[in-house]
């Protein structure tokens, strides 16, 4: 059985262990040889921002985990254009290469997946 999964990331790396636990789940699903993509919206786009130093706050740096996701054959990374722009971010500020997608296109994107989950 194979399904396509879209995980919607809406929170920053500084929202408790939310991102860490989302990443654990994403890696588990990918390890089941499923097709997994990620969509970053709202404050979720901050989780990909370069130059984060969570160690100062004694928090785990999840940036290497995002890097490792490529090894798990994560299909695609999407980021909502409006969420990036309103926060003054461009794709150059991000640690990963993402496909920028407009808010008006997100409904169409959702139609392409069997399962859509929030982290």
């Amino acid at each position: 059985m194979k399904k396509s999964f879209l995980y919607v990331i809406q929170s920053t790396s500084f929202d408790g262990v939310r991102i860490q636990e989302a990443l654990d789940e994403i890696m588990t699903v990918a390890a089941f040889d499923q097709s997994v993509s990620l969509l970053f919206i709202d404050d979720g786009v901050y989780s990909l921002k370069r130059g984060q130093n969570p160690e100062i706050l004694n928090l785990k740096n999840v940036t290497p985990i995002f890097d490792a996701l490529a090894m798990y054959e994560i299909q695609q990374f999407f980021a909502e254009d409006e969420s990036l722009k309103i926060r003054g971010l461009s794709s150059d500020d991000l640690i990963l290469s993402v496909k920028s997608i407009c808010r008006s296109e997100i409904g169409e994107l959702w139609d392409k997946f069997d399962v859509i989950l929030t982290g």
Binding site: K3, F5, R18, E21, T28, F32, V115
Partner: protein, 130 residues
């Protein structure tokens, strides 16, 4: 039609656990299948054996246990989320030299693979978070 359900919110943080409970109860009463309920993140607090709310409030943990018994529900608590927050099974407590279980009746502890498998087996996947 059967459902895989993830609950990732603490019972007193949001309405998510209540909504999930009422959805699952209604689905079962109508004859739908619940393949598995997976408690993740702060959702693990739904399985806390020693929750003891005042007598005039709903008993969130106990009603899960009763529903599990009535419908033979598979209530799975994520092991890593539970350990991180200090909810340990009898076996895990024994390894630490304690005779106790923090897990309420009707729940079991297992890994994220159980959630992945449930999503593949079920017709629909629902997430209750908050």
């Amino acid at each position: 039609m059967n459902f895989a359900i993830k609950i990732s919110s603490s019972p007193y943080h949001s309405q998510a656990s209540d909504t999930a409970y009422h959805f699952i109860d209604a689905a079962l009463q109508k004859g739908y299948g619940i393949y598995r309920v997976f408690f993740y993140g702060d959702g693990i607090y739904n399985a806390l054996r020693y929750a003891n709310p005042p007598a005039d409030e709903r008993e969130i943990v106990k009603r899960w246990s009763l529903l599990a018994r009535e419908f033979d529900l598979d209530l799975v608590v994520c092991v890593s989320a539970a350990q991180r927050r200090g909810l340990l099974s009898e076996e895990e407590n024994r390894l630490l030299g304690r005779r106790d279980s923090d897990l309420a009746e009707g729940f079991r502890i297992s890994g994220l693979g159980q959630w992945a498998e449930a999503m593949l087996e079920a017709d629909r996947v629902l997430v209750f978070s908050g």
